[in-house]
């Protein structure tokens, strides 16, 4: 008896993507559930690439803020689409890294030949948020449920107090280990790296200007399906000015802070999905390949005992991935660094440029390098687009894949040259998910 031979690794193609416009919390999608938004986004992708009735390898998606009844969110959403009901699905959560992590999981199965095609996605709503019953009330209800006699149940229920109804459990945007909100953590990072308020406001302004310009040239027309009256992200402020940003007050640290509502991402509702496949599957269906997902890496930092910055994990993940890929930081045509906060992006760049930090913390021989800012987040970033936690990864993968495909088409691109894009996403719990997309021009 011999062990069966393992398949060779295949290239993973990004065929296309779809998202709904992202909406500021409690605005256009206030009444929409995660399931509504995810099902609609999946259906948009199915329509665009004519996947009706097809049985796919799998559909993977997730949501960071989730109702307990949505234990099978992705499968339930899938059943509301015209995909074959025989398509399996599962949910994944890795905080803000969810969207990119789902793409990596689907890609890995395609690469190993376990499936030929799959959809990765994510959705989040902070409008239709779960509200839990008061913790003491929950314990009383469970005790009553355990009671074997009416007397026992009545005794348990007699402990209920009206005040418990007024103190429900709300989802928090905070780190359970430190009790600090993510913004407070990012304030500490901004101080650690001496990131000025002016630099943060400038980055935020550029994010809005670039996203606005992308809409002006119709960039998102084949990346988006209008939803509930929105055909653009409603956080975008095309007429934003530096003076308006400068007038905002610090929100996480009123006495010595620099993070404001303008240079931090707002709570957002939205969903995104990406279609990934083997080259053979795409060719057989007559679908184009926009780019390939070639490398990925996840990292986590100790933000508690060692007090590394909460959102610094991508800083560690990228050099590890570059080493595996045999690439340097400057060898990319595009950089997509998720703008959780303008300060997070600027801390990331500052850390890669810091010789001592790269040697002592990242174990490199010197500074990782600096990137050409003109190649970063060229179609706008999360500050202008919004950040529905689990949906951001899919948005970035879809946008970057199209950017690589377009760049390859332009006559200025040298033939035979590989176009590359780097994705870096920070996540709660001190985590980071990064990936490389690339595209080789045919001779």
């Amino acid at each position: 008896m011999t062990l069966s031979a393992l398949p060779s690794v295949r290239r993973v193609a990004i065929v296309g993507s779809n998202r709904i416009p992202f909406a500021r919390s409690n605005t256009a999608y206030a009444q929409a559930s995660n399931q509504d938004m995810l099902a609609f986004t999946l259906q948009g992708l199915v329509d665009r690439y004519d996947l009706h009735g097809l049985r796919l390898g799998e559909v993977v998606a997730g949501a960071v803020i989730k109702h307990s009844r949505d234990f099978n969110l992705t499968r339930e959403a899938l059943l509301s689409t015209t995909l074959a009901k025989q398509t399996p699905a599962y949910d994944v959560t890795q905080a803000c890294g969810t969207g990119l992590e789902t793409a990596i999981l689907v890609a890995n199965k395609i690469a190993l030949g376990q499936i030929d095609v799959g959809i990765a996605g994510g959705v989040d709503t902070t409008s239709d948020a779960p509200i839990g019953v008061n913790e003491r009330m929950r314990k009383i209800l469970l005790e009553a449920n355990r009671g074997r006699s009416t007397a026992q149940r009545v005794r348990a229920l007699s402990k209920l107090r009206p005040g418990m109804l007024m103190k429900p459990v709300l989802p928090r945007n905070g780190e359970p280990r430190t009790g600090l909100s993510m913004g407070e953590h990012c304030e500490l990072m901004a101080k650690r790296w001496k990131i000025s308020r002016e630099a943060q406001d400038q980055l935020a302004l550029e994010s809005h200007l670039k996203l606005s310009a992308a809409y002006e040239r119709g960039w998102f027309n084949d990346l988006m399906t209008p939803y509930r009256g929105l055909s653009r992200d409603n956080i975008l402020r095309a007429d934003l000015s530096l003076d308006q940003l400068a007038a905002l007050k610090p929100v996480f640290d009123r006495d010595a802070g620099t993070l404001t509502a303008g240079n931090s991402t707002p709570l957002t509702d939205g969903a995104s999905a990406v279609l990934l496949a083997s080259e053979e599957w795409a060719a057989a269906r007559g679908l184009p390949v926009l780019a390939y997902l070639s490398y990925s890496e996840t990292a986590a930092v100790d933000f508690f005992d060692q007090q590394e910055g909460l959102l610094m994990a991508p800083v560690y993940a990228v050099p590890r991935m570059l080493e595996r890929a045999g690439l340097t930081l400057s060898e990319f045509d595009f950089y997509e660094i998720h703008e959780a906060f303008a300060a997070q992006v600027l801390c990331t760049l500052a850390a890669w440029e810091d010789d001592e930090y790269c040697r002592t913390q990242l174990g490199l021989n010197g500074a990782l390098g600096c990137i050409d800012r003109a190649r970063m987040n060229v179609c706008g970033g999360s500050l202008a687009t919004g950040h529905p936690f689990a949906a951001t990864g899919g948005r970035i993968v879809g946008t970057l894949a199209k950017m690589l495909a377009q760049a390859a088409k332009t006559p200025s691109a040298d033939s035979g040259l590989t176009q590359r894009g780097l994705i870096s996403i920070c996540a709660a719990g001190g985590q980071g998910v990064v990936a490389i997309l690339e595209r080789q021009e045919r001779e």
């Binding site: 308020r197 006495d255 010595a256």
Partner: protein, 297 residues
């Protein structure tokens, strides 16, 4: 004509085991409003807190309001907060010639000689110093010296001014403006900054707390604590590392009204020295001018 050190009068030393409650000290300050006609000299007095712990919680509150981060270690200006009750006791001592309420803090020098760590126990001494001539009144120095296990680790000279009285003594030197400073940042100072810093520092001087209480002392609005402004500046200029030793001198100029904007200007004459100014939003009027030099562990 100068007396030998041996024949100089010795300061009376008072050991302060437990601090009087702040309300009592401020009560003394208010009663001091009716002081007049006392001798035009400072009582020779040394107040000592023999054993005070660097309290991590208090450090955390202080660091946060000034913008220091944990990587910077114990903020260099934090020991001033520990010594401040002794300043207030000395300034409200029955033998002290003027009311503490009208005094203006016009400059402060801090010398960190050894790195400090949270939870260490320190001995704090505050002593009245020399009279200093000044254009608008009588200035004088309070010396603060801090020891750890007998070793001098931190000391500071705080110069206060009693306005509107004839002055004696030798004038102190102030820093000349440096004209190569570069604007680094704009700060937005919120209305409650004075109250936040008062909570963290224990300096509840009414001129910092509210526009109404500030008006009672002749200010149109509440003004920022000078030591907050100095602390905030050091937090911004200090590298994100612990200091092994450092020296800072700051001259307080025009008050910063709250709420308001200020700008940080600085220039490096060498890698471990920074000249700095805090100015108004337009960058014209100075609020604080100083020089900071340091050594990293």
């Amino acid at each position: 004509m100068s007396a030998s050190p041996l024949s100089a009068p010795r300061a009376r030393t008072v050991i302060v085991e437990t601090l009087p409650p702040p309300a009592k000290l401020y009560g003394r300050a208010l009663r001091g409003l009716f002081k007049r006609g006392l001798a035009h000299e400072l009582p020779l007095l040394r107040l000592v807190r023999p054993s005070v712990m660097l309290d991590p919680q208090q450090i955390g509150r202080y660091a946060r309001v000034c913008g220091f981060i944990p990587e910077q270690g114990v903020p260099m200006t934090f020991p001033h907060v520990m010594a401040f009750p002794l300043h207030l006791m000395l300034l409200t001592d029955p033998a002290f010639p003027w009311s503490a309420a009208g005094l203006v803090h016009i400059s402060n020098t801090v010398h960190l000689r050894r790195a400090l760590q949270s939870r260490q126990t320190l001995r704090i001494e505050v002593e009245s110093g020399a009279l200093i001539a000044h254009d608008t009144g009588q200035a004088f120095t309070l010396h603060t010296r801090i020891y750890r296990g007998g070793e001098a680790v931190w000391d500071a000279d705080s110069i206060y001014l009693k306005r509107g009285v004839a002055s004696r003594g030798v004038a102190s030197t102030t820093l000349d403006p440096v004209d190569t400073l570069v604007r680094e940042a704009r700060w937005q100072l919120p209305a409650q900054l004075g109250r936040d810093y008062a909570q963290a520092s224990g300096d509840f001087n009414p001129i910092h707390l509210h526009a109404l209480s500030a008006k009672a002392f002749g200010f149109p609005r509440a003004i920022a604590h000078g030591m907050w402004t100095l602390g905030r500046t050091l937090a911004a200029l200090q590298p994100s590392k612990q200091l092994a030793a450092a020296h800072v001198h700051g001259d307080f100029k025009a008050p910063i009204f709250l709420p308001g904007d200020a700008t940080l200007w600085s220039g490096a004459s060498s890698a471990r020295v920074r000249d700095f100014e805090i100015r108004d939003l337009a960058g014209e009027k100075p609020h604080l001018r100083g020089r900071f030099d340091w050594e990293i562990a």
